[in-house]
């Protein structure tokens, strides 16, 4: 049994099935990320004065990632265009670039996550706060037993509010150096994991969900580029459609990043 309009478009709708399917799927994706962006807005508007952090993320890395995804959008388009003019070799080349760009994006994203998980805020017994990246800890370091030391590279501030705006002049002037902190002096310590505050929570959730989309898209493109490309020999038109449909998904994922980048990095 054959389903009509799997390859050719239906005259009155102007679409083949998969193209309509992907647009519908993307509509639901818009609602998914729409829900998350709404949550972001509500949480941010509801945050108390001076409790929403600014400048916690590295704008340079974010910019590089934005450029990577923009380039991958171009290569995706070129890969599809190459199939349209029946140049299979070019298709292979362009989509190889797409995957390379995507993987670089994920690599940079992983580094950013790693950086945040090694970033500690340590509230000390004397009321000051040590904030910085993990360097080393002594072998006998144990917070419960109050033994050993914990070394960070960062700075010590008087008030928690000083950590909230890393774009301020004071924050930029602050001298970052190694601090060795005794476990006995520590009241509470926590890394910049999702639970740290509402910003890290929404940052990890939204960028994580986006990264999962990147990963999923990359896997689909890899399948179509590798084993799935055999269809080019048997049914080139349908294969080209598949590249178009997966490309539409890829462009959507890029578009989400275009919104995520300013919302998370620049504000």
């Amino acid at each position: 049994m054959e389903i009509p309009y799997t390859v050719h478009k239906r005259a009155d709708t102007g679409l083949y099935n998969a193209k309509l399917g992907i647009w519908l799927f993307l509509a639901s994706e818009v609602m998914l990320f729409g829900g998350l962006f709404s949550a972001y807005i509500l949480l941010r508007v509801g945050a108390g004065e001076g409790t929403w952090p600014h400048g916690w993320l590295d704008v340079r890395l974010g910019t590089i990632n934005t450029i990577l995804l923009a380039l991958s959008a171009i290569t995706t388009l070129l890969a599809w265009a190459a199939l349209k003019v029946k140049e299979f070799g070019k298709f292979k080349f362009f989509h190889a670039c797409t995957m390379l760009l995507a993987l670089t994006f994920l690599g940079i994203k992983s580094y950013e996550y790693y950086d945040k998980f090694h970033h500690y805020e340590i509230q000390l017994n004397n009321g000051t706060i040590a904030d910085g990246h993990f360097v080393e800890q002594s072998a006998d370091f144990d917070l419960a037993k109050k033994t050993g030391t914990f070394t960070i590279h960062g700075h010590i501030v008087e008030r928690h509010a000083e950590l909230m705006d890393m774009r301020s002049d004071e924050a930029k002037k602050a001298k970052h150096e190694e601090h060795v902190i005794a476990a006995a002096d520590i009241k509470h310590m926590e890394n910049y994991s999702p639970r740290h505050n509402t910003f890290t929570a929404i940052y990890f959730t939204m960028s994580g969900l986006h990264a999962l989309h990147i990963l999923g898209g990359t896997l689909v493109i890899f399948y179509l580029w590798g084993p799935g490309s055999r269809m080019w020999k048997t049914d080139p038109e349908r294969f080209t459609n598949r590249i178009e449909v997966s490309g539409l998904f890829w462009h959507f994922v890029d578009l989400v990043w275009v919104f995520l980048f300013p919302v998370l990095y620049l504000t």
Partner: protein, 631 residues
């Protein structure tokens, strides 16, 4: 409009399996094995039946949970007969408390309040997401929609199969959560935070993972339905010739497509709260049992409610629209005349679909979100009742002047009308903020939405089962036992839910495992506004009515399975219906139609003056050969 037939492209490009059985004989007669035929089938009809059977089983299970709860409400902390011991062996003494007599020997087991809470949460979840939606949308939609539009299958048969498997897996995750330490989710089917993040059980995490699977399933289903209805309509099947059932499913699919993802987003956030200990929905300084927690705070409990009800309210129309679609088909068929106001029905369904997205906060008048917002949602809520009433009015007016043929599907369809009417009209006081403040979270609201969904939607679904059973099996279900099923269900449904209006108006709050004993006049004599004995007594009557309602379903269950092999044999079009789902062989083979249907007229051409038969099928060519109605 009549000339549109020629504008369509050839129905099938390339190979055309329906035109030549001989050319493709090697494909069609290849007999697949059991697994391929019944478990990993891509045939929309098999998937529809899979959905139907699993959903009916879940509904029976959800009903059983409710019976346990009704026992606890009527006889709090008293030993449950039969079931108590079984529950105890499954969930342990923590959840099923031992009941001792004067000498200290254990005489049975009662439901603990925790178990009551988890049964309550799971009853709602199972009935909505694993029962009614899969049956109304996925089962009937899958089986009937491609047949009605003259399509060989759904556009994406393999995605269709994946959709069922995601649904099944989601159901399994939900069921497994009953057996984990701490038990299933206990925060109600609405899973309000911070409650949902503070109850010490992982059941909530299971609930969320289950929901993500169910949402994935309905997303795949919704994409498939919309694409099928847009792309695979047979030549001549213009939009205004679609049977209204297809329109109802079309709008439902759009609601599922667009309303579910925000709940998925909310589910991801709550999962982060429960697993990664974030504070999306936990406010600053949240204290649990008097202890301020370690959570960072800064979250918003109201955010969960907004995201939840953004799905939650459109979901109501997901529950009701397919049932309305079935009722329209059954009424048109059994009044033997065109449905009243077909275009009004179409535009009303579109209006309902659109408006359902902007009424969600009428569930939240009590949250203190502000008078201005409440006023807006009160206005939209009043507006959405207009298209709903148009639909119901069209149904009533369709009966006018018809020579009504009474049979089991028609009885259920007729039963739907007043029952849904009661459910809808009692919703008005809940849509108005002033009266809702009093009625919110009482038994009144339970009675209201159960009238919409239980005797409303479920009666519509029963009508559908009795109506399309002959298409699925080639046999009719037993008429006598069908009528017994209908009348008993009608009586006991009302005996269960009608008293709840009185209880709610008297101020009985929902979600109390003891049925309000602590607020009764017997417990606190002399206090004002306590629940009088007459209201408390109703709890006992409702329990018996609910048990009787359960017994009333036994004829249906036996009838359903018995009729598969023993029912009265009928032809392909036993109800003398006009829509093309009755123009296929019975049961329809893989690929559905023996010859490609060409649609030449609207869906409800009954009793056309000048015609000899009192029905004129939508596709004329097929009808000339195949209308062998047993009549």
């Amino acid at each position: 409009m009549e000339k549109t037939v020629q504008q369509f492209p050839p129905f099938r490009e390339g190979s055309a399996p329906h035109q030549g059985h001989d050319d493709h004989g090697h494909q069609e007669h290849h007999e697949p094995g059991f697994w391929q035929k019944y478990i990993f089938s891509t045939d929309h009809k098999v998937i529809g039946i899979q959905y139907g059977l699993v959903a009916l089983s879940f509904m029976l299970f959800g009903f059983f949970l409710m019976l346990c709860m009704r026992w606890s409400i009527a006889h709090p902390m008293k030993a449950m007969p039969f079931i108590g011991g079984i529950l105890h062996s499954i969930v342990g003494s923590q959840m099923a408390s031992p009941v001792k007599d004067a000498s200290g020997t254990i005489i049975g087991y009662a439901m603990s309040p925790e178990l009551y809470n988890s049964f309550g949460a799971m009853h709602g979840t199972i009935m909505v997401f694993l029962g009614v939606v899969p049956l109304a949308f996925a089962a009937f939609g899958n089986y009937v929609v491609p047949l009605m539009i003259g399509a060989p299958d759904m556009t994406f048969p393999r995605i269709n199969m994946a959709s069922f498997h995601a649904f099944f897996l989601g159901g399994v995750v939900m069921l497994v959560s009953f057996f984990i330490p701490g038990g299933a989710a206990q925060a109600g089917w609405t899973s309000y935070s911070p409650l949902a993040s503070t109850i010490p059980t992982n059941g909530q995490a299971f609930w969320l993972v289950g929901m993500v699977l169910l949402i994935t399933s309905s997303l795949l289903g919704a994409v498939n339905f919309i694409a099928t209805i847009i792309q695979l309509r047979a030549p001549g099947m213009t939009w205004m010739r679609l049977p209204w059932f297809v329109w109802a499913q079309f709008v439902t699919a759009f609601i599922l497509l667009l309303a579910f993802p925000p709940l998925e987003a909310a589910g991801v956030l709550q999962l982060m709260d429960n697993v990664a200990h974030t504070s999306f929905f936990l406010p600053t300084g949240l204290a649990v049992s008097g202890v301020v927690g370690q959570a960072s705070g800064g979250g918003s409990p109201l955010l969960w409610q907004h995201l939840f009800w953004f799905l939650g309210h459109p979901e109501v129309y997901v529950l009701i629209l397919p049932a309305m679609g079935i009722v329209i088909e059954v009424i048109a068929n059994n009044t033997r005349k065109p449905i009243f106001g077909y275009k009004s029905l179409v535009y009303s369904s579109l209006g309902v679909g659109f408006l359902s997205f902007i009424v969600w906060a009428h569930h939240m008048y009590m949250t203190g979100m502000g008078q201005k917002i409440a006023t807006f949602f009160q206005a939209t809520t009043m507006i959405i009742s207009i298209p709903s009433v148009i639909i119901l009015t069209c149904m009533f007016l369709s009966l006018w002047g018809g020579s009504i043929r009474i049979n089991t599907p028609m009885l259920f369809a007729l039963g739907f009308l007043p029952m849904f009417g009661i459910g809808g009209l009692t919703g008005l006081p809940l849509g108005l903020a002033a009266t809702d403040l009093y009625l919110h979270d009482t038994y009144y609201i339970i009675a209201h939405f159960h009238y919409v969904v239980a005797p409303g939607t479920i009666f519509g679904l029963f009508a559908g089962i009795y109506f399309w059973f002959p298409k699925m099996t080639g046999r009719k279900m037993n008429e006598f036992w069908g009528r017994v099923h209908f009348w008993c269900s009608l009586v006991f449904m009302n005996l269960v839910f009608m008293p709840m209006f009185a209880q709610g108006i008297k101020g009985m709050i929902r979600r109390m495992s003891d049925g309000g004993v602590n607020y009764s006049a017997a417990r606190v004599p002399g206090a004002i506004d306590t629940l009088p004995g007459s209201v408390m007594e109703l709890n006992g009557w409702i329990l018996w009515a609910a048990i009787a309602l359960g017994i009333a379903q036994i004829p249906f269950i036996i009838n359903l399975f018995w009729s598969i092999s023993h029912g009265e044999k009928v032809g392909t079009n036993p109800w003398s219906a006009t829509t093309v789902d009755w123009q296929t062989p019975t049961p329809p083979p893989h690929g559905n139609f023996a010859t490609e249907p060409h649609i030449v007229r609207g869906p409800y051409e009954y009793s056309v003056p000048g015609h000899t038969a009192d029905f004129t099928p939508q596709s004329e060519t097929v009808a000339a050969k195949n209308s062998t109605g047993h009549h």
